[in-house]
């Protein structure tokens, strides 16, 4: 099971109910195929940034699902066939999220390791701190 973001743009020529009905069809396809809905949100009727097929706006809907790749490709195939769908985009999201979570942990770790800044100006009489050891460590300034 992989996590996918599927955004669907339904034709604005349909009424609200009809648009919901067509979306319902795809929801059913996904649900029947064993998809697990994480998010199922409507963004309502939005203006398109540029016209697509003479249409200036569309009903946006986002499905965030955990599903098998085969099911998603099947859903995409059907979305492509439909006339009521202006455009759709299905993108895998789990890999990016996983990497982001890993990075967040790494940053947290790095910050914990770094000693906090001295609050005030160090006293002149204080002995000079030992120079930082670079041996064997990863370069610290690689990203900022």
């Amino acid at each position: 099971m992989r996590l996918y973001d599927i955004v669907v743009l339904v034709s604005p020529d349909l009424t609200d109910e009809d648009a919901q009905k067509t979306l319902g069809d795809y929801r059913k396809i996904l649900a029947d195929g064993g998809a697990e809905f994480v998010k199922d949100e409507s963004w309502g009727r939005r203006r398109l940034a540029f016209p697509i097929g003479r249409k200036r706006d569309a009903f946006y809907h986002l499905f965030q699902v955990k599903a098998e790749p085969a099911l998603v490709s099947e859903t995409e195939r059907r979305l492509k066939l439909s006339d009521q769908i202006v455009r759709h985009l299905a993108v895998r999201a789990d890999e990016e999220l996983k990497r982001a979570a890993k990075m967040a942990v790494r940053i947290a770790k790095k910050q914990a390791k770094r000693p906090p800044r001295p609050p005030a100006a160090p006293e002149a009489a204080a002995p000079r701190p030992a120079p930082p050891e670079m041996a064997g460590e990863m370069p610290e300034r690689s990203e900022s």
């Binding site: 940034a49 540029f50 986002l62 455009r87 985009l89 982001a100 967040a104 900022s144």
Partner: protein, 95 residues
């Protein structure tokens, strides 16, 4: 004695130069990657408001040189913007 060319770059800031000489130059604020600063690791392509801040009037992607975004996040931002464009959340070009 007088140096004919004074370092006006930001690199001279940490040197102990004469303050009167330095004041003439505009001190540039150091640019920081927005995603690193706010610890946003995942650049969401559905977040139009966020992406819009990297889209100037013309609709092009704001270069790293100007926004200060780090290489890693600029790459992620780039794909996010391109995805948002495909579903017409953002323009490809405006005139």
């Amino acid at each position: 004695m007088m140096p004919s060319r004074s370092g006006g770059r930001s690199g001279s800031r940490d040197r102990d130069g004469k303050p009167s000489q330095r004041k003439k130059f505009f001190v540039r604020r150091r640019k920081v990657c927005k995603f690193c600063a706010e610890k946003l690791e995942y650049v969401d392509w559905k977040d139009v408001k966020l992406l819009q801040s990297f889209i100037p009037e013309r609709g092009k992607i704001l270069p790293r040189r100007i926004s200060g975004t780090c290489a890693l996040h600029q790459r992620k931002l780039q794909t996010a913007i391109k995805r948002a464009r495909f579903v017409a959340l953002l323009p490809y070009a405006t005139d």
